[in-house]
């Protein structure tokens, strides 16, 4: 059998070619149905179609080239890990999360079944040798945002180098001190891995680069406030998902072009859904590629998703890191503080997140909020009770959904979402 260029590369990376082939064959039709069937898509989405069309090819090849010339690839799981240190030291950070049921059976050979789909899918990618991004990375950086992940990282470390950052549970002075130390230790770890010093100069530049990308995403977020919405929620989600493992400068350029096109649309009153379509804000668990399930059900029912209050949404780009600091130590402290503002359900209390949801619902003129919870994600499931109370007080309708990556509850979800849209 003659291997294609991609297959050759995957085989060199230790990928299980047969299983991986099945995964890739399944992804094509899903993308075709969910994405390519949309009407009046922005031209700027062409880049993302191209990326997904060769999702384990082009970018992996770039990362390998980088590694071959001595560069390092740092894989992360969470928006808490300060990517600026990686860019500053010449390493490339990529996000590793996984969003498919395909890799779960492999994970369940080891992990308990009642673990959240994201943890299982991700672990299964490594165990089943299905993900070239894990294979190509030199260091996996975990964090203690949930107990399931925390323990999974110990098992993952049996297969590949893993470094775990401790995220505090409270934001008080003790928590802040702990986090600042963790950020400093991570900086040292990256310096050790790459053999490059992180300086005020290269870190300052990295901060500016990452901020530039955050600014484009904030701009996209504001454009989605328009009625009619200039872009579908599915497309906006995809752009966020891809940018979490793409080159920061390229993403900034791509998003800039997309935003310019969307600005033009907003000016002309052009959209992807009719004016007056019901507008939904999603809040809760992250959605890794190819988890487009909820957005697809909502948008197939005629409503439009106008925002994501999640780690694959606002929590990824909302807070900018302070620029213009010249002292390295102060810069690192300011960066640590920026990341501590991530309103993750791992914190107690986490009232800031409630303000974020209400603020986003108002800014984006959402008719209702759907709280999305991955089954067995206890922090978000419990915090949903607070979200429910806060939104009821604010007079914003809320629907709580708990699900995973499978399709077994598609009928149930459709009934709930249809009913919710009918009440708005």
């Amino acid at each position: 059998m003659v291997l294609t260029e991609n297959e050759q590369m995957w085989s060199e990376l230790g990928i299980d070619l047969a299983s991986h082939g099945q995964l890739m064959n399944a992804l094509g039709p899903i993308y075709q149905e969910i994405y390519l069937g949309q009407k009046n898509r922005p031209k700027g989405m062409g880049f993302y179609d191209f990326v997904v069309g060769d999702i384990h090819g082009i970018r992996v090849k770039e990362l390998r080239e980088h590694a071959k010339s001595g560069g390092k690839v740092v894989a992360t799981y969470c928006v808490f890990v300060p990517e600026e240190f990686c860019w500053a030291s010449g390493a490339i950070p990529i996000s590793l999360c996984a969003g498919t049921a395909f890799s779960i059976p492999a994970a369940e050979e080891v992990l308990p079944r009642n673990t959240c789909a994201l943890i299982k899918s991700s672990f299964g990618f490594k165990l089943g040798r299905l993900c070239p991004y894990v294979q190509v990375s030199h260091l996996i950086v975990g964090e203690t945002t949930c107990d399931g992940k925390k323990k999974m990282f110990e098992l993952l470390a049996e297969h590949q180098p893993v470094y775990v950052m401790e995220v505090p549970n409270k934001r008080g002075p003790a928590g802040r001190a702990l986090w600042q130390q963790e950020v400093r230790d991570f900086k040292a770890k990256i310096e050790e891995l790459t053999g490059n010093r992180i300086t005020a100069e290269n870190l300052g530049e990295a901060i500016k680069k990452v901020n530039a990308r955050r600014r484009e995403f904030k701009r996209l977020s504001m454009l989605r406030a328009a009625d009619p919405a200039p872009i579908s929620g599915k497309d906006a989600l995809l752009a966020t998902q891809v940018s979490m493992y793409d080159d920061v400068e390229r993403e900034t350029q791509i998003m800039k072009a997309l935003n310019e096109e969307l600005e033009e649309r907003v000016k002309n009153g052009e959209g992807v859904f009719p004016k007056g379509a019901k507008r939904i804000l999603i809040s809760g668990s992250p959605m890794a590629i190819p988890n487009w399930k909820l957005h697809h059900i909502i948008e197939s029912a005629g409503a439009v998703v106008v925002g994501e209050e999640s780690c694959t949404g606002s929590r990824f780009f909302n807070e900018l890191a302070p620029e213009g600091i010249t002292d390295l130590d102060e810069m690192v402290t300011a960066l640590a503080d920026r990341y501590l503002k991530t309103n993750c359900a791992c914190f107690t209390p986490n009232c800031e997140r409630l303000d974020d949801i209400i603020g986003m619902a108002k800014t984006l003129m959402a008719d209702g909020v759907i709280h999305y919870n991955l089954q067995f994600c206890h922090t978000y499931a419990n915090e949903a009770i607070q979200v429910d109370k806060a939104l009821e007080k604010a007079g914003i309708p809320l629907l709580r959904i708990e699900t995973d990556y499978s399709d077994e509850d598609a009928g149930q979800l459709k009934t709930r979402i249809d009913a919710f849209l009918e009440t708005l």
Binding site: Q412, A419, E422, T423
Partner: protein, 262 residues
């Protein structure tokens, strides 16, 4: 104008014809493996002007019959509003789902459904009745006549079934087991109802409402008086027909005279 409401559920299909504020016809049939054929047969030789389809099979059935669709939750709310204008909340136990709905003056204020699991549904009760070798009616009667109950630890259908089998093998009384099973369902549905917040006047619909033991246990759990409609199984179909009657005729075709289903 005559409107038809069709509720294509997981276990049964229900039809209601509604005209001038009255139910003029209603029917219930098993869903079977060919729900579309069953629907056609139910509609055969019936004339109506508009059709609204609800239930699990709504998207499967509606296009072929030129019907519109509505969720079961909106349909239940509309029917309960019509039957009991002073109603404020609804519990609906169907074959596959149990739902609780808090009504607002013009529709649904809040609702919850069981999470993709048979616990707390009609299906759970059916399987447990079978484990005790009782018909579904005898199962309810047996529970009602129990002097005491055993606590069932599992609500997972498969585990509950094996728990029942081991209780039988320990020589436990069927009455006590039957009551324990009903209590388990009432407890699950009751917790969901409390989360959403039920209030007077509470209506209990769906096939589950035909179970008098469940009605009594839910009344105790929620400390509320429950009203069961005369035909609790057909309320969603009625609601669909009512919603169809309230909707303006579609501008392109206007009101179609007597659509007859071949």
């Amino acid at each position: 104008m005559i409107t038809a409401g069709l509720d294509v559920g997981s276990r049964t299909i229900k039809l209601v014809l509604f005209a001038d504020g009255h139910i003029v016809h209603s029917a219930v049939a098993d869903s079977g493996l060919k729900p579309v054929d069953r629907c056609r047969r139910l509609l055969d030789s019936r004339s109506f002007d508009k059709l609204m389809v609800t239930g699990y099979g709504r998207d499967l059935v509606a296009p072929g019959l030129s019907g519109a669709t509505i969720s079961e939750i909106s349909a239940q709310a509309a029917a309960v509003r019509f039957l009991y204008p002073d109603a404020s909340s609804v519990i609906d136990i169907g074959g596959q789902d149990s739902k609780v709905i808090r009504l607002s003056p013009n529709g649904v204020q809040k609702f919850e459904m069981n999470d993709r699991c048979a616990a707390g549904t009609g299906k759970f009760l059916e399987i447990m009745a079978r484990a005790l070798e009782l018909s579904i009616d005898d199962f309810a009667r047996t529970a009602l006549n129990a002097q005491r109950s055993v606590t069932l630890n599992s609500l997972c259908t498969v585990f509950a079934e094996s728990e029942v089998v081991s209780l039988i093998n320990k020589g436990e009384d069927a009455h006590a087991i039957a009551l324990g099973l009903h209590q388990a369902v009432a407890s699950r549905v009751g917790s969901m109802a409390k989360r959403v917040g039920m209030a007077d006047r509470l209506i209990f619909s769906g096939g589950g409402a035909k179970n008098p033991c469940l009605v009594r246990l839910l009344e105790e759990k929620l400390s509320l008086k429950i009203t069961v409609p005369e035909e609790p199984q057909t309320t969603a179909a009625l609601g669909a027909a009512i919603i169809a009657s309230l909707q303006p005729p579609s501008p392109s075709t206007g009101e179609r005279p007597g659509v007859r289903v071949p």
